[in-house]
Symmetry: C2
Subunit: 210 residues, 2 copies
């Protein structure tokens, strides 16, 4: 098994932390997305035609090319500790939360960033196709990130973790989204004690350093 | 258990077909998203503050509010026939395909539609917040849908189903995405024999009538 990672990007960090929380040791290859744009090379396209990381290469040569697919596969191979829920209801609740964090939070932030920074001109979406930046979309993305960050306190409420008593992929994605929002200097509101308490707790786990 | 559906919308159809393929019988409530905008009512906000369908109410009163969460929960409760993969590798491959179909296909189509049709003015995103339409985003969405539809033939290749030998959530989402694209008169290319053969096959299943 081989994990194609990029140490500076938020997306593969979702898998990096998952692997660490499972206590797995997987051979890792770093792909330089910035200076070298290695993900667009012919060599990497043969591994993943979508030109993105993370990628997990299975022992039979199959390449899994999304966080969703990689998580599902590793969760089934290594069920403990469960990071996607131990019961049907937990799987449902974690699936819900993770989906909304990914789409209302993470993707809104990616929209804001990719449609505004000069280094991403012509690359407003990840993947093999080039799209021009849309300034209005950058503004909408920022507005959505603000709304999202303002709701984290209620999402956490008095629970230890996003989905309740146990750490899960919802915590992984929410922490990474908040760190990612920092790239555009957007932060959790100061008057968000539940969110702040939760963020400090998950950020102090050894896996969060990765 | 209770399923909040909307018979005219593509998103809850993803759950409707899943339930039918599992052979389940779940009490269903129809929410009128069009004329009555029932999803924005105080009554429905108490069920789902995101103001979207599908919603699945569990027997303990928990509301699952995304297709992702509902699928995970029902798959665990009723594992047969598996619609999300029987082995770890299958779960990974289906997770990958479903994610790309949802994001490159379904969401691009939603972007194209919501940012262009007069009836969705001020409602360019689903959910509780109002966003104005961005015409450039409608154009980008259409371009992405065209690219996506042009790649379905290679995605299917010579396989009976999207992920291989077994029908899965990837087939559900791809079929619904193609039907959804028809709303803007976008279709599979004519010279796409694998895609056409697969589409006819999945569309002839009894669940596809739902």
């Amino acid at each position: 098994m081989k994990f194609y990672d990029c140490s500076t990007a938020p997306s593969p960090r979702r898998v990096r932390i998952f692997i660490a929380e499972k206590g797995l040791d997987i051979e890792t290859v770093n792909i330089d997305l910035r200076k070298k744009a290695e993900q667009m090379s012919d060599e990497f396209r043969a591994i993943n035609p979508y030109c993105t990381v993370p990628v997990l290469e299975l022992d039979d040569g199959t390449h899994l090319v999304t966080t969703a697919g990689i998580w599902q596969c590793l969760e089934e191979m290594h069920p403990n500790p469960p990071l996607m829920g131990a019961t049907a209801a937990e799987k449902g609740v974690i699936g819900d939360l993770q989906w909304h964090i990914e789409f209302d939070g993470f993707m809104a932030m990616a929209e804001a960033l990719r449609n505004s920074v000069p280094g991403m001109k012509g690359r407003a979406l990840p993947g093999p196709d080039d799209f021009e930046q849309i300034p209005e979309l950058a503004e909408r993305g920022k507005a959505r990130v603000q709304l999202f960050l303002g709701r984290v306190d209620a999402m956490i409420s008095d629970k230890p973790f996003v989905a309740g008593d146990n750490y899960s992929v919802a915590d992984i994605d929410l922490m990474i989204m908040i760190d990612f929002a920092g790239w555009l200097k957007m932060r959790l509101p100061e008057d968000a004690p539940n969110a702040q308490r939760w963020y400090e707790s998950v950020s102090s786990r050894p896996s969060a350093k990765l």
